[in-house]
């Protein structure tokens, strides 16, 4: 077997050294009732690389590949072009096959890259500090709500109706067990985010108001008023960003007064991957750093006075604090954070701004064209690279019909909000730099056909 280097002779010699007569001697602690005498029945035996590849290629072939068709899906996962060097670099064995940097003297590569990543995330979000990443945006969002509870010692968070419904579900799952109260509402198909509702809902019991920017329908609203109102009431503003590229063009949440900014980093450096692995971004004001969950890389010096990096403030973490830790999170999303950081390095400020401009310009042009179709309305007053169309019929069957015609035309709000008939005609369309004019034409045609 190609992955197992011991030969039968080795095994025999080693058993002799140990003083065992057979391998079974080493499993004597297993209760007899639970010992398997031989391999598990009815499962296939080992297979060659060729055979395994053949099987997986066949499975992969049963999926419609985003890059092979006109593609307009977003809602928390975005298809951007990733430079070839990103994947090459993250596959270097020293990154790919290393572990959490517990021994900093021989993990400076990972640690320095994480320190650079934290700096990039903090600057992108307009915050003082950022951690070394979380599992994904949805879990980062819940951790931010829990962190706001620890800071304010209040247990009620107000969630914007524009927050990704999966993020809301994750928070609701957790809140059922922690006792946090969540005020939630479903969105409506209006042109503005629900800022007014949130302003009215903040009170003296509020730990945090949680707002997605741009929101699930792609809408944009200034966060400054919410930050001011939240702070007046002793609450925190948590901003959630599911499309990092947006911040190349838009003012950052930190700049508008958000206390904690979290989000999904997948849009930079990480492919769609059918939903994971992704990379959660987490940043906040410096004064809250000791309440922050997750790993942190920090600068220090070695015994010769040379600059170096270590994992730090670990007294917040589970391996030291055990049941009193800020979170049970143990790892981060290291390799995805590295991919994010490498892609961001390639972009730089100049490239990120150009990428964001290109996304917005393409989306604006597509929105103009699609909103001109009979019976189709553009919902958003403002957007970055994703907007919502109101169709003259339910969007779910339209999406399926378009897929049958070879166009992945967007996400129907009926898929995300099955219980909200008022949203059923909504279609969320994302237009990134990967979309061509011909793709938009194909979407127009498919939409016209499906609406007939």
């Amino acid at each position: 077997m190609r992955y197992l280097p011991l030969s039968d002779t080795d095994r025999q010699q080693m058993l002799e050294t140990i003083g065992a007569t057979s391998i079974d001697d080493l499993f004597i602690d297993v209760p007899e009732a639970a010992r398997l005498a031989s391999k598990i029945d009815d499962l296939p035996d080992h297979a060659s690389e060729l055979a395994v590849e053949r099987h997986l290629v066949r499975l992969a072939g049963r999926n419609l590949v985003a890059g092979q068709v006109p593609f307009f899906l977003g809602c928390g996962a975005y298809r951007h072009h990733i430079p070839a060097s990103v994947d090459h670099l993250i596959q270097r064995g020293e990154f790919l096959t290393s572990y959490t940097p517990y021994q900093p003297e021989i993990a400076q590569g990972t640690l320095q890259a994480l320190f650079e990543f934290q700096t990039q995330v903090a600057r992108l979000y307009g915050c003082d500090v950022a951690n070394a990443s979380m599992y994904d945006g949805s879990t980062a969002c819940w951790e931010a709500i829990a962190m706001a509870r620890r800071i304010t010692r209040r247990g009620k968070a107000i969630l914007s109706a524009g927050l990704h419904p999966h993020y809301v579900s994750v928070a609701q799952t957790m809140a059922r067990f922690t006792g946090d109260v969540l005020e939630v509402a479903a969105p409506d198909l209006s042109g503005e985010p629900d800022t007014e509702r949130l302003l009215g809902a903040i009170d003296g019991d509020t730990s945090a108001v949680v707002v997605q920017y741009p929101d699930i329908l792609g809408r944009l609203g200034d966060l400054g008023g919410l930050a001011a109102r939240a702070h007046e009431a002793g609450a925190l503003l948590v901003a959630v960003v599911t499309e990092p590229v947006a911040l190349g063009l838009l003012r950052s949440p930190g700049e508008m007064g958000a206390d904690i900014v979290v989000g999904e980093g997948q849009g930079i450096g990480v492919g769609l991957n059918f939903g994971g692995p992704y990379v959660g971004l987490f940043a906040c004001k410096e004064k809250f750093v000791r309440q922050m969950p997750g790993r942190l890389a920090g600068e220090t010096v070695d015994a010769e006075g040379k600059r170096g990096f270590v994992l730090t403030l670990s007294t917040r973490e589970q391996h030291i604090r055990r049941e009193k830790a800020t979170s049970n999170i143990c790892t981060n999303s290291g390799l995805c954070a590295l991919a994010f950081s490498i892609h961001m390095t390639l972009l730089g400020e100049k490239g990120l701004r150009a990428l964001a401009e290109a996304n917005h310009a393409r989306a604006a042009a597509a929105a103009r064209r699609l909103a001109g179709l009979p019976g189709v309305e553009l919902v958003n007053r403002a957007f970055f690279n994703e907007f919502t169309l109101k169709l003259p019929m339910e969007a779910r069957p339209v999406v399926r019909a378009m897929a049958d015609a070879g166009v992945l035309g967007g996400v129907s709000l009926g898929r995300l909000y099955p219980d909200a008939p008022a949203l059923a005609n909504g279609l969320v369309v994302a237009v990134t730099e990967t979309v061509t004019d011909e793709d938009v034409t194909a979407l127009e045609q498919a939409l016209i056909e499906a609406l007939k």
């Binding site: 050294t17 140990i18 080493l26 009732a33 639970a34 398997l36 598990i40 035996d45 395994v52 099987h55 997986l56 049963r62 999926n63 899906l73 298809r79 430079p83 020293e94 790919l96 959490t100 940097p101 021994q103 003297e105 021989i106 400076q108 590569g109 990972t110 934290q118 599992y135 879990t139 579900s169 799952t173 067990f177 200034d222 190349g248 769609l272 692995p277 920090g298 600068e299 220090t300 070695d302 270590v310 830790a325 049970n328 143990c330 995805c336 390095t345 390639l346 972009l347 730089g348 400020e349 990120l352 401009e357 290109a358 310009a361 007053r381 999406v399 897929a403 898929r415 099955p418 730099e433």
Partner: protein
């Protein structure tokens, strides 16, 4: 200086000259690399973006960015060099034996990388219509079936993103099941040898944590456990094989006692590598167990994630499993895979405790893990466990004369060998030995864990090491252990040959510097 005929120095004193400072600070292949923000700037980019004509601000609601972001960029050649140089400052499995106990640092087959990058898996959106992702759903279902069969359990939840996330999944299912029968139990029992995530997870799930002591043989103290069971105990979280590298021989009895007292049994499956194909946790009476795909099934650790932590459930917990999950139905005379999500709850999954993450879990890890599992098959996976256990016992027996092995007398270990610092000279510590191993070209073992052993050293070689590799590692470890026993104080200053000497962790925590600040702004801020 005396030279030989090729012009190479022949005397030892000449070698000392090689230590002289270089102008660059580099030492040949050991290259110093500045921070990205010191070599890049905001005007440089390594990508060419196709211009799309002039956009306007009509749809931006006045939110156009006005301040610079401060993101440094590099050209592509500079980027490749920056990260290649950084990578060379890391130890990795690809470089050598990585005996980090309880982390299962085994070889990562590159077939798995290739599988994950097939466009049919890597370039598929999680919200595509179900009919366009049948292959992805089938892959999740096939992997899930393997995990169920290998563990002898009833069902599996695939969405948890990591081991600790899987623990949370298991405990939420336990809490939901107890609440469903109107039972408000508040306490989770955790052995004192448990990994720190166990108590943290139990607390995160809203439980009070109480510790169960270990007995002299490094196992759960069954009598103490039984004495503590009662109507307030929701369940136990037990790692098996445990963190001392030992199988819990009373596991069936523990499960029976917990069940009789009305509780449920969570097993931390971090160490499943030791028993895969030899023992099915379902036969031990376990109700929930997470499986770290990045350990047993070798998806790469990536410098600390991403991992994946699917959870297998007993029949009792199955109705409470999280959303979403993949189901196979018959349609049009063939198999069709569907995703059971929120909208399906009323129909056939009314008691799910809910969603743990956006979308459906770590697809990129599923494709890798399935490639690994199919490569090994039922026979190979059993061999994995046997070779992992054989390698660990070989290390244990070849070192126990020199390093104190607190539980070696009670029999063989499983996949990892535990040693303590007993017998070291006054003032010499586990940390010193670990740093000495770095100079020998090895990543050290897990240090100071489990907490039940003084100065613990937990060595997990894994099955992907050859006998020759083990022999060399044993030689190195014996050499460093002898120095620690003899009180060789030069060990206190190790490592000497790593990219950095010992780093000041106290300074890092006292004055946290977590992001780079340009010199002038940093000074202005002070």
């Amino acid at each position: 200086m005396t030279m030989n005929r090729e012009g190479r120095p022949t005397r030892p004193e000449a070698a000392e000259d090689a230590g002289a400072e270089t102008w660059t600070g580099n030492r040949a292949l050991m290259l110093e690399e500045p921070l990205l923000f010191e070599i890049g700037d905001t005007r440089t980019t390594g990508v060419d973006i196709e211009a799309v004509g002039e956009g306007d601000d009509a749809h931006l609601a006045g939110l156009r960015r006005t301040r610079p972001i401060g993101l440094a960029g590099l050209s592509e050649p500079e980027t490749v060099r920056h990260y290649t140089r950084l990578s060379r400052q890391n130890y990795a499995i690809d470089l050598g034996l990585f005996p980090l106990g309880s982390c299962t640092m085994k070889h990562n087959p590159r077939l798995c990388e290739k599988a994950a990058r097939l466009p049919g898996f890597a370039d598929v959106h999680p919200l595509q219509p179900i009919d366009t992702v049948q292959g992805a759903l089938q892959l999740i279902a096939e992997l899930g079936e393997w995990l169920i069969r290998l563990t002898g359990m009833h069902s599996v939840a695939m969405s948890p993103k990591a081991g600790a996330h899987g623990e949370l999944c298991g405990l939420l299912a336990i809490r939901s099941a107890l609440e469903a029968r109107g039972d408000k139990r508040e306490v989770i029992l955790v052995p004192e040898s448990a990994h720190g995530t166990n108590p943290a997870t139990a607390a995160f799930a809203g439980y009070r944590v109480e510790s169960i002591p270990a007995n002299a043989a490094g196992r759960v103290d069954l009598t103490a456990l039984k004495a503590r069971l009662g109507p307030d105990v929701a369940g136990v979280m037990i790692t098996n094989p445990n963190t001392c590298g030992l199988f819990e021989p009373d596991m069936i009895e523990i499960s029976r006692a917990v069940h009789e007292a009305g509780g449920l049994v969570y097993c931390d499956g971090a160490n499943f590598n030791a028993i895969v194909g030899r023992v099915r946790p379902g036969d031990l009476g376990i109700d929930a167990m997470h499986i770290n795909l990045h350990k047993t099934f070798s998806t790469p650790h990536g410098g600390g994630g991403p991992g994946a932590g699917p959870v297998v459930f007993s029949e009792a917990l199955t109705p409470f499993a999280p959303l979403p999950f993949v189901d196979k139905i018959q349609a049009d005379g063939g198999d069709r895979y569907i995703l059971v999500e929120e909208e399906c709850v009323g129909e056939h999954h009314g008691r799910s405790f809910g969603r743990m993450t956006a979308f459906h879990g770590q697809m990129g890890m599923f494709s890798r893990a399935l490639a690994y599992i199919l490569s090994h098959g039922a026979d190979g996976l059993r061999q994995v466990a046997e070779d992992a256990v054989l390698n660990a016992n070989y290390i244990l027996r070849r070192l126990e004369d020199l390093l104190d092995a607190p539980f070696a007398a009670s029999g063989p270990c499983m996949h990892e060998a535990l040693f303590s610092d007993k017998g070291f000279a006054e003032g010499m510590t586990t940390l010193d030995l670990a740093k000495g191993l770095i100079d020998e070209g090895y990543h050290p073992m897990t240090m100071y864990f489990p907490l039940v052993v003084h100065g613990a050293m937990l060595v997990e070689p894994t099955e992907t090491e050859s006998k020759a590799a083990l022999d060399q590692f044993i030689g190195a470890l014996r050499h460093v252990a002898e120095r620690a026993r003899a009180g060789d104080t030069s060990l206190k200053a190790a490592p000497f040959h790593a990219p950095r000497r010992r780093l000041d962790e106290t300074l890092a925590a006292r004055k946290p510097v977590l992001v780079y600040r340009e010199q002038d702004t940093a000074e202005a801020a002070e």
